[in-house]
Amino acid sequence: MPYDYKPLPYSAPPGLSGPEPRHRVVVVGAGPVGLAMALDLARLGIASVVLEDKSSVMVGSRAIVWSERSLQLFARLGIVDQVMARAVPWSIGRISHGDDEIFSFDMAGTTTGRFPPFANLQQYHIEDILIARALAEPLIDLRFRNRLTGVDQDGTGVELSVKTPDGPYKLSADYLLACDGARSLTRALMDLDFEGEFYEERFLVADIEMEADFPAERWFWFDPSFHSGQSAMLMPQADNVYRIDLQLGRLANAGEEARPERVIPRIQAVVGPDFDLEWVSIYTFQSRRLAEFVHGRVIFLGDAAHLVPPFSARGANGGLRDVENLGWKLAAVLEGRADERLLDSYNRERVQAADENLRDSARAASFISPAPGVERLFRDQVLTLARETAFAREWVNAGRLAVPCIYATGAPDDPRLPDEARPGAAAPEARIGNGWLLDQIGPGPTLLAINCTAPDGLQIPTLSVRADPALRARYLGDAERALYLIRPDLVVAARWVTAEPRAVSAAIRAMWEGRE
């Protein structure tokens, strides 16, 4: 059934009839990033106004693949059950060259089983769920058809101009969070430019609805006979909707290629004649980012801060990683628990992550659409070898699916403990008792004491657990015990096998100061 694009509620904002009190946070943009940002702040007790230009959710599935880490964030935001009720979980990917499957992989073993490695759901469904949740949240003032038109900041706050159907008004805020997407007006108003590359390659993305029994898997073809010389991808979404991505090459004319009489035969070649075409878009890729994500009291997140080719679930998922990194830091600064310097660590860490995403997606781009000549030669020979040799299968790069960045840090560490949970890494999930470890951490920082007791008098909550084999594998390795300091965004801050109270309190201080 086609998605029902309901109009979003509008009522005249108070600022039209008189000055509004100064707000702590204004979020611009109610895409997945802006909405998740406002919800994460609300969870931490921080109120915000969210300004959104559009009057209905945008058409087309757009971002469909949500990573385990994003599902964990959705759990903290209270929407994961709704997401999983509709989403299509998957873990198997199949790669073909020509018309032969050359190999498949299964990522099922990479998670604890609470969530699948990936779940597919159209971005419009995710936005619907986030919007409903935000509208029900007293700390969020979500204003549709409110378009940001001007930004002006001094050292202490930001003045905004906003346009509505009933006229313009002004707002002031301590911080402006720019989540206004790839064409960010905030970016333009502040004269900031993206740095990086454009690709000439064009891809066609289409949503089709069909009754079919394709398994819940990601299928990727290099040079299939149905789309010779190019690549293709097929993935399931909710409600019998499938996503097809077709590489069109460098010379393709976007307007021409998006016409149904061009699109439909191409899709028929993949899935046969019985489908309804719901949405088509021609997509070009960019690998670009802002030099800095923090500009005084204006902070950029999501597509407004960085744009990557969407081969590997790095677009929206990367934006959600920005959200969880910033939320606890901004809350602590606003409540006077931390100095403003802590926000520099958002810039440092998320720039590092963006660069990793840009690097990895540029590598995937050159494998999926190699330049003619030697790039194409090596790409094709990797594919040829992959038919027979295990090593070459690993070299095949149809988009390395996103894993969270491991932030660079010199925080206390002990080499006896497992690499996976080292400082800077996302804290691994593990079952404990009848529940899950990560549910018991936060909303603030937490000391996780495994087979030991935490030093006294440290003013942060301690979670003491006995290690069972699962927890041991992820957190202890060969060590008998360990103390972990876990940040509110569920990133490991520091860890010890033998913890000195002074070292632990120094690490806690370093965390609040955002030291590297």
């Binding site: 030669l377 990797v382 040829t384 040799t389 090593f391 070299w395």
Partner: protein, 62 residues
């Protein structure tokens, strides 16, 4: 320097002849493809990133 640049391969004359023989009768494109496969296979066999970077640098004349 991890890359071995001193003599290391017994019967190198034999290998050289075998390498050329493998290309005999191939078109330029087929030869290029064979070379590419060979590089990939040998790189995996070497299995050491630093050595490979040194080998690339040497090959580029740096």
């Amino acid at each position: 320097m991890k890359l071995i640049t001193d003599p290391n391969l017994p019967d190198h004359d034999g290998f050289f002849a075998e390498l050329l023989a493998a290309h005999r009768g191939l078109s330029d494109a087929e030869s290029q493809a064979l070379n590419a496969r060979l590089i990939l296979i040998l790189a995996n066999h070497v299995g050491d990133r630093e050595t490979l970077t040194e080998a690339l640098d040497l090959a580029r004349g740096r």
